[in-house]
Amino acid sequence: MKRNLLSLAALALLAIPQASAIPMIKGDEASYRVRELSTGINWYTNLPMALQESARTGKLVVWIHMLGKIDGAT
């Protein structure tokens, strides 16, 4: 009986969302990912040119509005 109660308490603890820190990506790792992203993809900054390339290749355009630059401050 006592063991069952303990098991229930443990289960209850697991079920309650724990107050934990927001998962954070450290600066070094973030910096590496930004570099990979900005150099691993050919980024267009001119929409008409991107659309032209889209018409040529048949691939759709993913066009992103963002505050800042893909390889700089955001």
Partner: protein, 272 residues
């Protein structure tokens, strides 16, 4: 940060022409703290920061297949990109009339939302401060609110809104896209489309302690980017718009009631 994570990075690289535009200074841009590429990064919920980031999927002629407001988790982003590709097949189908294409567009956006898993819906929970902003400034007119009585609980200190008070951001996105079938990018009303939650979005990634808590002094001192001046008047404008809409609705109801009592029902129908 989700763009650099798999499966988003490879899917983007292999299947799309990719580009971006810095919207700093644009009328619809929000405000954020400045993050250097060497700074920390945190994950957040789908649709967070809609004023600061928008991801469009465009056909070669510039027609918008879909637009994701704010951050999106990599796996969910890929799923929406695939929807964009499916929609392009409809747009490109010469045997369909424009009306049929528009109908498919609406249906496919709604169907896609219905297939979202419970986990994705959880990832798409609107940020608490955005819920508060909607409840405070447009409780009775916001299309993000499902039940205004339940949504109002978010304004009470320490209270979380119950399920069914607010739409999730994935629903907001697909509902709003359904109203904009095959619109050209040049005519796409980014302001209205991204208008939910407060214009200021910041996770204070570089102002956190080792345990993840925000250092409020550092957070207050950090430089901001975006439409800082516009932000100050945004809440006031939202409240004024709500008052105007509600006043307009009341006037219409009063006028309609007066005429209906006198048997001029056709006139009322025309007004509505």
């Amino acid at each position: 940060m989700s763009l650099s994570q798999e499966p988003a990075f490879s899917y983007l690289k292999d299947n799309f022409v990719v580009g971006y535009k810095d919207i700093t200074g644009a009328s619809y841009a929000g405000v954020s703290g400045v993050h250097m590429p060497t700074g920390n990064a945190v994950s957040t919920t789908n649709g967070a920061g809609p004023h600061n980031l928008q991801t469009f999927v465009l056909a070669p002629d510039g027609t918008v297949m879909t637009c994701l407001p704010g951050y999106w988790a990599p796996q969910d982003l890929v799923s929406e990109l695939k929807l964009g590709q499916d929609l392009y097949k409809v747009w490109n189908n010469k045997s369909l009339s424009r009306a049929d294409k528009d109908s498919y567009f609406r249906q496919m956006h709604q169907d896609h939302f219905r297939t979202h898993s419970l986990q994705e819906q959880r990832r798409s929970r609107m940020q608490g401060f955005d819920m508060k902003y909607e409840a405070k400034n447009r409780l009775h007119t916001s299309d993000c609110i499902l039940d205004s009585r339940l949504a109002a609980t978010v304004l009470q200190k320490g209270m979380k809104p119950p399920m069914g008070a607010f739409k999730t951001t994935d629903q907001i996105m697909h509902d709003r896209m359904s109203q904009r079938p095959f619109t050209n990018y040049m005519n796409f009303d980014v302001v209205a489309y991204t208008d939910y939650g407060r214009p200021f979005y910041n996770k204070n990634e570089d102002q956190r302690t080792a345990t993840g808590e925000v250092n409020k002094d550092l957070a207050r001192a950090q430089p901001l980017m975006g439409n800082v001046d516009e932000m100050k008047g945004a809440a006031k404008r939202a409240r004024r718009q709500q008052q105007q809409r509600m006043a307009g609705g009341r006037m219409l109801n009063r006028a309609g009631g007066y005429l209906a009592r006198r048997g001029v029902q056709t006139f009322v129908r025309a007004m509505r």
